[in-house]
């Protein structure tokens, strides 16, 4: 393999390599990572936790490709899940609740999109403000209460099989991956994120791209909210304060650059898995809780450094 080719491959799969190394490490270092029975902790990560983180990271990726941030995802989850919860508790009709969630998600997405595309407010400010507005409304709706009376059918739809979350997430991830890599819309998103003026000059309807992206974003968040309340069995306005950070971390660790125009669904998936394996693994390793955050920071720095080092070696020796 030529030097350049090797480097390309390496760059492309380096994050996957990090993930694999982490999995190998934790498999060796702890007994409970794979066991006992039912794939042990791995099944927790893959079936219970990853679907949520990955969905959030996909939302974030979409916005980051467009050179923005979404700080409002946590609050949006809070508001949408509260609204859906209220509908559920009033009607016991899961489909109506899901519909409510999707409509609300779409509305939130479109409002964000209009503010970003037409009013041209930076995404950071839009979502920073929305973060307060949405959570505020969620609080107004529910105050300090929770809603947990969802009727007999709702939770069964999602929790009767332990694979449901994973499957639903996979469907959305595949759809989004397809949308981003194989459709005209996807190309428009990357073009707009790379160079907005050039995109406009090429006949791309930049404003529509923004609105569509935020709309999609809102829909995915709405869907995620439904999954969240199904999983938690409750809807409460305080959920998700750390979601933006979690999602940004997963996206970045997955290798998506914040400079816009690059980033893939697969990055989001790998990044989320890396973060989850790390946090889970450390609990299993018995790392004291205070140390866990330090370790996460250190491992990020280490893995970037290692990547650099490997790159250098690959340049010098191959």
């Amino acid at each position: 393999m030529t030097n350049a080719k090797f480097r390309n491959y390496f760059m492309k799969y380096s994050r996957l390599l990090v993930l694999i190394l982490l999995v190998i490490f934790f498999s060796a270092a702890t007994k409970t990572f794979w066991g006992p029975g039912n794939w042990g902790n791995v099944s927790n990560i893959v079936l219970q936790q990853a679907p949520f983180t990955i969905l959030l990271a996909i939302c974030m990726t979409l916005v980051i490709v467009l050179k923005g941030f979404d700080l409002s995802i946590g609050s949006a989850v809070a508001l949408i899940s509260c609204a859906a919860g209220i509908v559920l508790s009033k009607t016991y009709n899961p489909w109506l609740a899901i519909l409510t969630a999707l409509v609300l998600g779409a509305v939130i997405g479109i409002i964000n999109g209009i503010l970003v595309a037409y009013v041209e407010v930076p995404t950071f400010i839009v979502t920073f403000s929305m973060q307060w507005i949405l959570r505020g409304i969620a609080m107004v709706l529910l105050g300090g209460r929770q809603i947990y009376d969802f009727g007999p059918t709702f939770r069964n739809i999602f929790t009767s099989s332990r694979y449901t979350f994973l499957l639903l997430m996979a469907v959305i991830a595949i759809l989004m991956a397809f949308l981003l890599s194989k459709t005209v819309f996807g190309r428009e998103v990357y073009a707009t994120g790379t160079n907005q003026d050039a995109a406009r000059m090429s006949g791309i309807r930049v404003k529509r791209v923004y609105i569509t992206a935020f709309l999609l974003n809102g829909l995915i968040i709405a869907f995620t909210s439904v999954l969240y309340i199904a999983n938690l069995g409750t809807a409460e306005p305080i959920i998700g304060e750390n979601f933006p950070m979690t999602a940004i971390a997963a996206t970045l660790v997955g290798g998506t650059a914040v400079s816009g125009g690059s980033g893939k669904v697969s990055n989001a998936v790998i990044g989320s898995l890396i973060m989850l394996v790390l946090t889970n693994g450390m609990i299993h390793l018995g790392v004291p809780s205070e140390w866990q955050q330090v370790m996460i920071g250190a491992i990020i720095v280490l893995s970037v450094t290692a990547e650099r080092g490997m790159q250098k070696i690959s340049v010098e020796t191959v």
């Binding site: 929770q146 305080i238 609990i283 299993h284």
Partner: protein, 329 residues
């Protein structure tokens, strides 16, 4: 309880305020002597809470408000936008001092951290009824502390759990927000009880920040790590419910979960058998008693330094009472 005179007593509040603001706590008796029952109406109280995003605090607020209204007082609530923010609490109090109320009912997020604000209130001479978290700063004055001892609640809950387990079994602990006073107290209380019972092994103790979502994932991990778990001690209701969900999903039915706090959802969960019992830290009672203490102060009743409330263990024995309280069938 002596109920205050009804509406007739809307005597000029300004004047009342002047008269009712004693220079310092020591002067309370003499200051209060001149007051008639009439003067006790129309006072303005300010309640400072840590947050309003949990039923613990909304119940506390509602109870305090109800009592105040019963007395013919008005009550404003201050609450930081960022939950549990000491910094914002100080700012809120400083702002409220622009137009000082007759009495403060204060639940500080940090027992020492609130000091700068308390100093200013002391300076302004407004009486303070401290609730929930004790003000510990040096040289600070307050009328009385209405609260519960989390260490004690945790001990009684842990003790109840030990009894439930017949003195032996392995336990997981879910801690609250690292570094918060309540979390530290609860952890200490539980640890002490479990340490005394040699049959009990504490397998692990992890923080889940008082949040359900985090408790769910942390418990998922811990259940995976420990195939033999008999009970989970959760430092609040939210985490207990999260843990219950994780237990249900893992199909580990035998695990007993105990919680602190009380809410409609928790009571329902106990009724459904998802949670074994909870130690109600009676926030509503604190709210109510804070107002009562304020009234007592204005009346000139000699005040104890503390008015501690007892936690109530909610289990099958008294479940029906609680069900009635929340209107659960």
């Amino acid at each position: 309880d002596d109920s205050a005179e009804p509406a007739a007593a809307s005597a000029a509040p300004e004047a009342t305020k002047e008269a009712a603001a004693p220079e310092e706590t020591a002067a309370q008796t003499s200051a209060a002597e001149g007051e008639t029952d009439q003067d006790l109406v129309g006072k303005r109280a300010v309640l400072l809470v840590k947050k309003l995003s949990s039923s613990y605090w909304t119940e506390l607020e509602a109870a305090a408000k109800e009592k105040c209204e019963e007395y013919g007082w008005t009550m404003e609530t201050l609450c930081p936008v960022t939950a549990d923010s000491n910094e914002e609490q100080i700012q809120l109090l400083e702002q409220s001092l622009l137009d000082p109320p007759d009495v403060y009912l204060l639940a500080p997020a940090d027992s020492e951290g609130i000091t700068p604000a308390i100093e200013k209130i002391n300076e302004a001479g407004v009486p303070i009824i401290n609730l929930a978290t004790k003000i510990t700063g040096e040289g600070l004055e307050y009328v009385t502390f209405v609260g519960v001892e989390y260490y004690d609640i945790a001990t009684s809950a842990a003790q109840a759990l030990v009894e439930l387990l017949d003195g032996k079994g392995s336990v997981l602990i879910l801690e609250g927000t690292t570094g918060s006073q309540t979390s530290t107290d609860i952890k200490a209380g539980a640890d002490d009880v479990f340490a005394k019972n040699s049959g009990i092994t504490v397998l692990d103790s992890q923080p889940a920040n008082y949040q359900r979502q985090e408790a769910l994932t942390v418990t998922q991990n811990l259940l995976q790590k420990y195939p033999e778990v008999d009970a989970i001690f959760a430092s609040n209701g939210e985490m207990a419910l999260g843990a219950a969900e994780a237990v249900r999903q893992a199909g580990r039915d035998g695990i007993r979960i105990c919680a602190l706090n009380c809410s409609e959802e928790l009571v329902q969960a106990i009724a459904d058998g998802k949670i074994a019992f909870t130690a109600d830290d009676v926030s509503w009672k604190m709210g109510e008693q804070a107002a009562v203490a304020a009234m007592d102060y204005f009346k000139g009743v000699t005040m104890e330094k503390e008015r501690m409330q007892d936690a109530v263990i909610v289990n099958e024995d008294n479940l029906s009472e609680y069900k009635a309280k929340y209107g659960i069938q």
